[in-house]
């Protein structure tokens, strides 16, 4: 008589084969509850095929975790979350920062007399032209959760979000995005600007 766990595995394999998905590995039982529940919810026919008995077994072992389990078993998931910024959180922070810079630099452009000053934002790329002084390009680099900047003064730099500083920091130089732009723009255009 097959053991309950192997029955579940066989059922899951049938489900995935029916949908021509990659079959689950034996380690699914050890994977985090969130990822395994996502896997099951992404199978649209799962509810029909796995109705009743099968689904209840799957749910019991793969989707739910007894609440009394201590945090050690959740360890890897927690570490991952704190090391890598969540994507939606990253988008929110990066978009806010870039929008903010766009508005402030636009205003700044109205006050300084720079020939060929132009700032535009399209396709998530912020381009700031300062005529003969050079061009800045700021863009989001989502896979790395970074903001990339190309400056005519300091060249390329890549900023990561620092939770403790609540700012975008270039790890190599510990530079702060707003501060770098403030000092460089003042140096190039002659007038100070507040970006933080």
């Amino acid at each position: 008589m097959a053991s309950p766990s192997s029955t579940k595995l066989i059922l899951l394999r049938r489900l995935s084969r029916a949908l021509k998905l990659k079959p689950p590995s034996a380690s699914i039982q050890r994977s985090s509850s969130s990822s395994s529940s996502l896997y099951l919810s992404s199978l649209p026919e799962a509810s029909r095929l796995a109705h009743g008995y099968c689904l209840s077994i799957c749910c019991r072992n793969f989707c739910s975790r007894p609440p009394h389990l201590n945090d050690e078993s959740q360890g890897p998931v927690t570490i991952y979350n704190s090391v890598l910024l969540q994507e939606d959180e990253y988008h929110r922070l990066a978009d806010t920062t870039i929008q903010d810079l766009l508005e402030k630099i636009e205003e700044y452009g109205d006050t300084v007399e720079i020939d060929g000053f132009d700032i535009e934002y399209g396709n998530q790329v912020l381009t700031l032209k300062l005529g003969s002084l050079g061009t800045y390009v700021l863009n989001k680099q989502t896979p790395n959760r970074q903001i990339w900047m190309s400056s005519p003064v300091s060249g390329p730099s890549r900023f990561d979000w620092d939770q403790s500083a609540q700012a975008w920091i270039y790890r190599r130089t510990k530079a702060n995005l707003s501060e770098v732009l403030e000092s460089e723009l003042e140096q190039l255009c002659g007038q100070p600007i507040r970006l933080s």
Binding site: G131, S132, L133, T135, Q141, P143, P156
Partner: protein, 165 residues
Amino acid sequence: MLGQSTRRLLGMGFLGQSRSQAIQVLPRFYHERVVDHYNNPRNVGSFDKNDPTVGTGLVGAPACGDVMKLQIKVDDKTGKIVDACFKTFGCGSAIASSSVATEWVKGKQMEEVLTIKNTEIAKHLSLPPVKLHCSMLAEDAIKAAVKNYEAKRAEAAPLEKAADA
């Protein structure tokens, strides 16, 4: 004549000279050096990464759009880089940057190549602002290759001492 004006246009950010209105109307082109490296890349290839005289630098990520593998072959006794090769997945500027990097490291001492700056590569290729990141990646690849070679030497050293004893 067109080549001259495009070279001036692309060098805009770096040379800082005043420009006339007419030039700003022209579209951007890849600098002829970038096109040359793209069409005739120098030193494409691979060394055996297990060879103790080879240092491998692998930088970038496919998701970001650029991956560079730069390998150096070092003469143990003199610390001089005798050969270099690269393989790059990415845009024309990334290919040209890593190709230039392999050209520049050949025949130099390891300490010397660590001073190669991304700004020099970018200036040589007249890279536009948005492609400066490619030159930085090339600089990182050089540094990673040197670091890898030194790490391999450090690992091998105690074993050599044991063999001699």
